[in-house]
Symmetry: C2
Subunit: 478 residues, 2 copies
Amino acid sequence: MDIRTPDWVKDAVFYQIFPDRFARSTRVPKATHLQDWGDAPTFHRYQGGDLLGVVERLDHIASLGVNAIYFCPVFQSASNHRYHTHDYYQVDPMLGGNAALRELIDAAHARGIRVVLDGVFNHASRGFFQFSDLLEQGEDSAYLDWFHAGPFPLSPYDDARPANYEAWWGNRALPKFNTDTLAVREFLWDVAEFWMRFGIDGWRLDVPNEIDDDSFWQEFRRRVKAINPDAYIVGEIWGDAHRWLQGDQFDAVMNYPFTRPCLAHFGARTLDHSMNEVSGTGHVDPMTTEAFAARMTEVASTYPLEIVQAQLNLLDSHDTARYLSAVGGDATAHRLALAFQLTYVGAPCLYYGDEIGLPGGPDPDCRRAFPWDDEGSWDMDTLTLVRQLTAARHACPALQRGTFEVLHAQNDLLLYARTHLGSAAYVVMNTATRAQVASLSALPAGTYRDAVSGRTVQVASGAVLDVPGRTPVVLIRD
Amino acid sequence: MDIRTPDWVKDAVFYQIFPDRFARSTRVPKATHLQDWGDAPTFHRYQGGDLLGVVERLDHIASLGVNAIYFCPVFQSASNHRYHTHDYYQVDPMLGGNAALRELIDAAHARGIRVVLDGVFNHASRGFFQFSDLLEQGEDSAYLDWFHAGPFPLSPYDDARPANYEAWWGNRALPKFNTDTLAVREFLWDVAEFWMRFGIDGWRLDVPNEIDDDSFWQEFRRRVKAINPDAYIVGEIWGDAHRWLQGDQFDAVMNYPFTRPCLAHFGARTLDHSMNEVSGTGHVDPMTTEAFAARMTEVASTYPLEIVQAQLNLLDSHDTARYLSAVGGDATAHRLALAFQLTYVGAPCLYYGDEIGLPGGPDPDCRRAFPWDDEGSWDMDTLTLVRQLTAARHACPALQRGTFEVLHAQNDLLLYARTHLGSAAYVVMNTATRAQVASLSALPAGTYRDAVSGRTVQVASGAVLDVPGRTPVVLIRD
């Protein structure tokens, strides 16, 4: 099968936003019983972020070199993370409703920023209309075949009794759709089409493996691509994804196999094991330069290049501790990892707040409010690095689409090449705490600029480079 | 206060439709697990009527002389009667969604038929979004102040435990809004405005007395009338309604004080007491002609004429046994009552199916499917009478807007006059089973036509009229 992924993704830098916590606009009326902005996150309370808040912060987002936003769920949902979908056709009123998404998409598109939404299609919520009908009518429900329900009565809220319906991981808050029912399939496909027509640029699919049905996703893809052939379809698949990456289902997946080695290697000295063990990543063992290089070479070739270039490479997410906290708060590890992410093959995805060194343990702590009013807390070195390297990436086709080739990997010193047609970039990572000397003999002679320090580097036969401890160097041919 | 009610209501003949049971269109996709059309109604099952079915039956509706439809609730709801509102901004998908209401309103308006919706604003449902958030988050809900809830946890579905929230008549399926909360008030007012802008012609308000707050309904009226000064606002108030009929809240109310005497008098011989005792009307004692005449005179003068002319006069509804069944199946009683309803002051409201003598006991039996495919079951005498008398009413301003004056009421013989400006009509009702002779000496001399029999009646000094048993005569000056 011919595999084609959207070209724009290959050149994209994503920014993942957890809508309740990114930014609040005064233009969206708020419920009264909210947490204060910046309070410690809890499982149940809202802080009142909204989509017009995102519109009002597009300057910041654009300043990061971001040209695509991936939103955690935005549809009407009785949960602060909005994975408990109540209505697939309505943006949550607390986020500003459909009108706010309209304004956001238009404003983002005007800046060349694309918008990808999170599609939570495996399960609904207890308040979802058709499930609500099951709860009200029991076996008499018109929608009896929309879920896997029975025997009756169901017990949606009383944990002391069996729920008597299938739910995601047995969580009765999340009744699983019966996607064998044609009406359910048509419903979910229609939702996908509705928002594509509304103007979104793609779907991030939540736990799509749990709709264990290739034909469902094949038809999903046909319908989405019929509306926009450039739509991005990226699945949340934590493990091997070959099944879905044959060209007829997803374009790519969330690249968690990228995530773990980045924690293991750059954070090797300081990993917070007890934190990771309860985070989405699970336990992470430290990894040497040699092992890391081998692993990332493998990750870069797991799938055809067309797919690898479109993978969503993330260091962390709403489902894991924040990278900075997972590595015990070591900002140098975080910056090295960001530099790797921004110079590796595949679309980097920054998790909101990472650019300013926002800390956070596992869910819900990784969902803190963005501290707009406390710039003193921002890590400006990290912010500067992100801006430098996204700029370098956008300026250098090799960083966007190039192959990944390790030239040296030993004793905490890593050197790799990215090359694409006539473009090339070379990255040196010194993960030791001491300065090291890197041989540049594998590089073509010429004048380079380090996108991080800004210094000019002359490469000739036998050239070497002093690399300070815990520092990345990104050499681009002048 | 200056009291003004919409002129169009004074000339209206309403038709009340229970949407799940009136008509099905093949153009609306249906859930699979429905009752067959015409099966005995149950509390929980759906038969799949929809709004495009109504569009496709507008010929029938118009043929009845109907120029206004009052719909039982149409918004998304997990109940076949749709009083359990799940989403106030969406027409139920099984009814065809908002697009079907758009088509219906446009088609109805093109025929001069107005559309009034049922507004259920006192309570929501267990699946309603903001209540769902309360169920999910408990005390942490952003919408804590939208309902009267606590202590926690709530028990929405388990009848064995206290619900711990206020609900309509203690029915935990129907959590009562906290209309002291500004956001709730604004929400409900916005719903009213949204559908007014959509193009409806008014609101029938469900149990509005249970929002015990004049200022709520005053603002409701201001907003509705600001969008359409001709909007009809009619409250479901079963008893005395002076509080709401001062000109600043409702235009009129559902005239149940009209209903009971009509059962009591025309059905005096055959009343089904055991049925009425469990129906919305409650026990009904037989009433003589004399008492009936006095009572209806009183009913016609309970409120200022401007209001009386706009009252919604009903013989039955989705909340009562059907009139025909309540009077033990006596079609002559039903026809006499229909004749009275169609010649009395105030807007007659026909309950769908009554025009063909559809029977039905109390809820849910009074909500049977309209038997489109079984014309043999239709009572054509009743249907003819309805058509004759709505035509007469539309042709005769006195029948629409005239005063109500009893000229004779004795021994099962009732004679009353309707007069308005130069127009006049005279109605004779012989409720005895034998023929009676009615004196027409109170009528101005001249030539009249009986709108029921079609015969011409000459009135001169000392004129009398033979009136067959159980028959109405409606004399209109030629």
